[in-house]
């Protein structure tokens, strides 16, 4: 029996060792296979890329490859002209209320300001993004306790005045275990007090472990909620198509995610996000398409 115990210890150690994180880092595309695309992308709201965005959105919509986008919204309405321009292409928008706007105590005022500018053009609002991880550790943090307070109050504030508005939780980080731990903590703090008819669970999913772990939390605690994956992607344009072919079906089968938003239409022309971009150099209408963009639009430019 003692030898059996030793063997089992070896086996358990080996299995734990093997259970590391991994991104689908080397997806190989199959040119003849279909691209199981989900017609949603993230768009960085900026005036700099208006011409390129217009041209790209027109092509994607014409090809049937775009039905919606996730964009940043603000309290002052500075982004409104750009966001309205994206909406003019006939796509449905999700507005992200910036992390910074969640720090103040007056979340009711924040929601009033945002809704007064963007509603009813936008009826789905995400409160924050990767809140527990995206802010530098040197800066003040917003703990999940405080976040749940803001989310609950935002819901109570809009539930009767805007019955057609749906909220989305902040997207948990899409690599490693931190995202699933945050999600579990939100559940512990009362996430399920908000009815599933008015709340969608937001997730970012870039790696296999993040997918497995967030699916586990969904399976155990959040079965009655819809899930939208608000970010996925890969930083090598040559692997974009392979990522969609390989990873999108798994996101669907394991999470039943209704929507998967590609990160990102344009992440800037330099590091760190240029490689994720569907297009580069969007300052003019003659942007440079990625292989995925070309495949989705049946020929690109």
């Amino acid at each position: 029996m003692r030898y059996a115990t030793r063997i089992l210890l070896c086996i358990v150690s080996a299995m734990t060792f093997a259970c590391g994180d991994s991104s689908p880092s080397s997806p190989t595309s199959n040119p003849s296979a279909p691209i199981p695309w989900s017609p949603y992308v993230g768009i960085h709201t900026t005036g700099e890329a208006t011409l390129g965005y217009d041209a790209a959105l027109e092509k994607l919509v014409a090809a049937g490859a775009l039905q919606g986008a996730r964009v940043g919204v603000d309290q002052t309405g500075q982004a409104l002209p750009y966001v309205s321009r994206y909406a003019s292409h006939g796509i449905e928008l999700v507005g992200i209320v910036d992390n910074v706007d969640l720090f103040g105590q007056d979340i009711e005022g924040v929601m009033d300001n945002v809704l007064s500018r963007y509603y009813p053009m936008i009826t789905t609002y995400q409160l924050g993004n990767e809140l527990s991880t995206i802010i530098s550790r040197l800066q003040p943090q917003l703990p999940n306790e405080a976040y749940m307070d803001r989310l609950r109050r935002a819901y109570l504030h809009i539930k009767d005045t805007h019955p057609d508005v749906t909220l989305i939780t902040y997207s948990t980080i899409g690599a490693g275990n931190k995202g699933s731990q945050d999600l579990q903590e939100l559940v512990r703090l009362g996430l399920r007090d908000i009815p599933p008819s008015r709340l969608i669970i937001g997730m970012n999913v870039y790696t296999d472990v993040a997918l497995r772990e967030q699916a586990a939390v969904r399976n155990r605690h959040l079965r009655n909620y819809r899930v939208w994956v608000l970010e996925t992607g890969i930083s090598n344009p040559g692997q974009h198509i392979g990522h969609v072919q390989e990873f999108y079906p798994r996101i669907r089968s394991e999470l039943a995610a209704e929507r998967i938003y590609w990160y990102v239409l344009w992440g800037g022309d330099g590091p760190p996000d240029v490689g994720f971009s569907l297009i580069t150099r969007p300052q003019t209408a003659n942007f440079i398409p990625s292989p995925l963009f070309t495949a989705l639009t049946g020929g690109g430019q």
């Binding site: 059996a4 089992l8 070896c10 080996a14 060792f17 008819s197 772990e213």
Partner: protein
């Protein structure tokens, strides 16, 4: 990651040999012990229209007692890796007791029962979406192995503990047992359905039997 996986499999493979080298020096007061390599394959469908096919590779330590205890002939401890190309799911540990009946010289039939603790293969999970003619989502349906046990890392929420049953025919050729058999696991699956028109959910939980065929070989002493 593939290197880590390969090293892990190597460690698993070498573990019995490591233990055995010490074991050989001892007197053996009971029946034969065996180290077995087990190949398994299962297929089926939990959600209509979606199939799973799962192949696995495992190692087992089998301890046969000299006599019977409460009608049992021995116990086995095992580990299995399903979906060898996936490195973060499809791991399981199992323990079972069995009873053996002699069928012929050097051939026996074993009936076993035990439990299996696993991070189940992701191949069990499946979803199905229905869209209207304009491409708007009408409903989705999803199924997944329902987590019911603690896991050693991550969210600690992604593992399952299920009973398992096995029938196995073993023929020994000298010190080398060869076997074929079948396993059955009544696994707990959750199935959720969302209907967009009514913005409503239904959920059901039920045990479904998952069957697999197994075959393998080993060495006894």
């Amino acid at each position: 990651m593939r290197t880590k996986l390969a090293l892990a499999l190597l460690a698993i493979t070498l573990a019995p040999a490591f233990a055995w080298s010490h074991d050989e020096k001892k007197d053996k007061p009971h029946g034969p012990n065996s180290f077995l390599v087990v190949f398994s394959h299962s297929r089926g469908s939990i959600l209509e229209g979606t199939d799973f096919r799962i192949s696995g590779f495992g190692l087992e330590y089998e301890d046969r007692w000299a006599g019977r205890l409460l009608g049992l002939s021995g116990y086995s401890l095992g580990a299995r890796k399903d979906d060898l190309y996936v490195d973060n799911s499809g791991y399981s540990l199992n323990a079972k007791f069995f009873t053996s009946i002699g069928l012929a010289k050097r051939t026996s039939l074993s009936l076993g029962a035990g439990a299996e603790w696993s991070i189940p293969s992701r191949s069990y999970s499946a979803s199905r979406y229905d869209y209207d003619s304009k491409g708007n989502l009408e409903s989705w349906e999803r199924t997944f192995p329902k987590p019911n046990a603690w896991a050693p890392h991550g969210s600690h929420a992604n593992s399952t503990l299920n009973p398992m049953f096995e029938v196995r025919v073993t023929r020994s050729v000298g010190r080398f047992p060869l076997f074929v058999g079948a396993q059955a696991r009544p696994m707990f699956f959750g199935t959720d359905t969302y209907t967009a028109r009514t913005n409503s959910f239904t959920r059901t939980d039920e045990r479904k039997w998952v069957f697999s065929v197994v075959a393998g070989f080993g060495v006894s002493h």
